[in-house]
C-alpha cells in the first residue's frame, strides 16, 4: 500500500478526489453536487444559528444532504435530535422543530413520509433498543441513518449519540483485527430490511409513480449507503479493538463516496473504483435532471423492460455493483468479506 492510501485509511476525507486524481476519472456530477451541498449547508447553518438552542437538542439532515449529493429535486430529510426523553410540548424541542421547519422542509421539498424525518426523536433510544421487538423499523432506520449518512446543522447531539451507539455495538465480544460482528450483523439486517420493505411497498397494487424511483435508488444511493458502511466495518480487521471506536467514528463522519473511494484505493483496485463511482456519477447526473425525474414517474413494474431510461439505470446499477463486487471479493478485502459478511 502506498503512503497516500495509508493516510486515507486513517482519514478518508478527500478520498474521492484522490481516486479521481489517481485514475483520471472526472466525477463531474459528484463534484458539482458536493459544492452545491456545502453551499446550502452553510446557508442553512447560518439560518439556524440565529435560533437559541438547548445543549441537548440539535437539527440533523440525512440522505443526499449528508452524502453531499444535493440536486434540485432532493428532499429535505431532517430531524430534531434530542439527547434525553422529552414530553410533547417540551419548549426547547418545539423551538428547534419550528426553526427546522422554517429553514428546511418547505413547500414541495418537505421531508419524506413514514415518520422517519421531520420529527424530533430521543437519540438515547437508538443505543438502548437494539434488536428484539422494541427495536422498531423506525428505530433501526434512524440509528443506521445517523451512523451512515447524517450531518448536523445546528446544536451538538450527533457526535455523542454516535459514540453511545458505537459503544453499545462494541461493548463486549469485540476482538482486535476482526470486524465487529454485532455492528456488522445490524448493518446487514438494515440493508436486507430496505430490500424487503421495497417489495412490501410494491405490493400495494395500483400503478405506483414512485416505484421506478425507489427501484433506482436501491440500485444506487441505497446500495452506496450500505456498501459505504460495510467496507468501513470490514476494514476494522486492520485495527485493535481499542482503536475501533475512533476509526468508525472518523469514517462515519465523511461521505460514503469518500469511504468507498478510500477502500478502493486501500485494496489496490482503484480502476474498478473509478468505474464504479463513475457509474454512480452518471446516476447523479440523471436524477439531477427534472425531466428524467418526471419520466421515471411514468415507468411502472409492467413497463420497465420497454423503458430506455430504466435500462440505462439498470446498467448503471450493474456497473456500480460490479465495482463493489471486485472490491469485496476480488481484492485484498475478499478474504475478510468471505469470512465475515455472509455468516
Amino acid at each position: 500500500m502506498d503512503p497516500r492510501s495509508a493516510a486515507l485509511l486513517d482519514d478518508p476525507a478527500g478520498a474521492l478526489a484522490a481516486l479521481a486524481e489517481r485514475t483520471g476519472a472526472g466525477f463531474s456530477a459528484l463534484t458539482a453536487a458536493r459544492r452545491r451541498t456545502d453551499g446550502r449547508v452553510a446557508e442553512r447553518m447560518a439560518d439556524l444559528e440565529r435560533h437559541a438552542v438547548g445543549d441537548d437538542v440539535a437539527t440533523c439532515v440525512f440522505g443526499s444532504w449528508a452524502r453531499g449529493e444535493l440536486t434540485d429535486g432532493s428532499d429535505d430529510d431532517w430531524a430534531v435530535l434530542v439527547a434525553r426523553p422529552f414530553a410533547a410540548y417540551d419548549r426547547d424541542v418545539c423551538l428547534e422543530v419550528v426553526a427546522a421547519t422554517e429553514t428546511l422542509g418547505v413547500e414541495e421539498r418537505q421531508p419524506g413520509s413514514q415518520d422517519i424525518f421531520g420529527h424530533p426523536f430521543d437519540v438515547t433510544e437508538l443505543a438502548r433498543k437494539i434488536g428484539l421487538d422494541a427495536d422498531t423499523n423506525t428505530n433501526l432506520t434512524r440509528r443506521m441513518l445517523l451512523l451512515l449518512e447524517s450531518r448536523e446543522l445546528h446544536g451538538n447531539v450527533r457526535s455523542g449519540a454516535i459514540t453511545d451507539i458505537l459503544a453499545r455495538y462494541l461493548h463486549e465480544g469485540t476482538k482486535s483485527y476482526r470486524p465487529p460482528r454485532f455492528l456488522l450483523n445490524d448493518l446487514v439486517r438494515y440493508w436486507r430490511t430496505i430490500c424487503v420493505d421495497f417489495e412490501g411497498k410494491g405490493s400495494a397494487g395500483a400503478a405506483d409513480p414512485k416505484w421506478a424511483t425507489r427501484n433506482a435508488k436501491l440500485r444506487t444511493s441505497r446500495k452506496l449507503l450500505f456498501a459505504g458502511g460495510l467496507v468501513t466495518v470490514l476494514l476494522c480487521h486492520l485495527k485493535e479493538a481499542s482503536e475501533m471506536p475512533h476509526f468508525l467514528g472518523r469514517w462515519f463522519d465523511v461521505a460514503p463516496t469518500d469511504r468507498l473511494a478510500a477502500a478502493f484505493l486501500y485494496a489496490g483496485v482503484e480502476e474498478s473504483g473509478a468505474r464504479a463511482l463513475g457509474a454512480y456519477d452518471r446516476w447523479l447526473t440523471l436524477i439531477g435532471d427534472s425531466e428524467t425525474r418526471e419520466a421515471l414517474r411514468l415507468v411502472a413494474f409492467d413497463t420497465r423492460d420497454t423503458s430506455d431510461l430504466f435500462e440505462t439505470i439498470r446498467q448503471i446499477g450493474m456497473d456500480f455493483q460490479a465495482g463493489l463486487d471486485a472490491l469485496l471479493f476480488s481484492s485484498a478485502l475478499g478474504r475478510v468479506t468471505r469470512t465475515y459478511a455472509i455468516f
Partner: protein, 228 residues
C-alpha cells in the same frame, strides 16, 4: 454459471463472476441465433457476445433479438460487422441503434470506422476494440486516442490476445488498459495461433495476462474460443 465453466482448468475463469462466450467461435451453427444463444448459455448464463462479424449476419440478429424475449444474461454485447461491409455507415448505425436497450455494448473495429462522427448516436453503447498486428491501425494507445477523442462517450473493449501479438512484452497492453481504464466495458479473452486466429486460452497466456486481468475484475470477460 453452469458446470462447464466451474470445472474449467483455468483458475482465473472459474473464479471470475462475469464470464461469457462469443458466438463467433461457434461456426457450425452460424446464423442460427437460437442455437448460438443456447450453446453460449450452456457455458455461462451471465454474459454473451452475439457476433455478427459479417454484414450479412446483422439483419438476422436484429430480427432474432426483436422477436426473442429478453435474454437471460446479465451482460449482452453485440459484435458489429467488420467483414463484407457495403452499407453506408449511417445506415449501419441506424440498424445498430434498433438493437434492444438491454444490449449494453456494441463492439466495432476501429479500422472499420471511416467517419467517427457517424457513430456518435450509439453513445455509451459504442465499444471500440484494440486490433491485432494484421491491422494497420487501432492497435496501440496512440492509434486509438484520436478515435476516442472524437467519440467522448465510447467505451473500450480490451482484447488481451491482440495486444500481446502486437507487443509480447505486454507493455502495449498495459498502456491501453491504463489509458482507457475509465472507458473499459469488457475484455476479450483467448490466445492466438500462428495465423492470429483465436484459440483457447493457454496456461502460459493466462499467467502472462494475470496482472492485467486482476485490473479488470469488475467487467465481463468474453471468451473468443471455447473455455480450456
Amino acid at each position: 454459471m453452469v458446470p462447464s465453466l466451474l470445472h474449467s482448468s483455468s483458475r482465473a475463469l472459474s473464479a471470475h463472476t462475469m464470464v461469457g462466450c462469443s458466438t463467433g467461435y461457434m461456426s457450425d451453427v452460424r446464423g442460427d441465433w437460437e442455437a448460438l444463444v443456447e450453446r453460449a448459455a450452456q457455458t455461462s448464463s451471465t454474459a454473451i457476445e452475439l457476433s455478427a462479424l459479417s454484414e450479412d449476419e446483422l439483419p438476422g440478429l436484429i430480427a432474432y433479438l426483436a422477436s426473442a424475449p429478453r435474454l437471460p444474461f446479465h451482460f449482452v454485447s453485440v459484435h458489429a460487422p467488420s467483414k463484407g461491409r457495403s452499407m453506408p455507415e449511417e445506415e449501419l448505425v441506424r440498424q445498430l441503434q434498433s438493437l434492444p436497450p438491454w444490449v449494453s455494448a456494441i463492439v466495432l473495429h476501429p479500422d472499420a470506422m471511416r467517419d467517427p462522427e457517424a457513430y456518435v448516436p450509439l453513445g455509451r453503447r459504442l465499444v471500440i476494440e484494440n486490433m491485432d498486428r494484421r491491422k494497420e491501425t487501432g492497435r496501440t494507445t496512440q492509434e486509438l486516442q484520436g478515435l476516442f477523442h472524437a467519440l467522448a462517450q465510447a467505451r473500450f473493449c480490451f482484447d488481451l490476445a491482440h495486444a500481446k501479438v502486437v507487443d509480447p512484452t505486454m507493455a502495449v497492453a498495459a498502456s491501453l488498459l491504463s489509458t482507457f481504464a475509465t472507458r473499459l466495458s469488457h475484455v476479450h479473452l483467448s490466445s492466438l495461433d500462428d495465423r492470429d486466429g483465436h484459440v483457447p486460452l493457454t496456461s502460459g497466456d493466462e499467467a502472462l495476462f494475470a496482472d492485467l486481468l486482476r485490473r479488470c475484475a469488475d467487467v465481463p470477460w468474453i471468451l473468443e474460443a471455447p473455455p480450456s
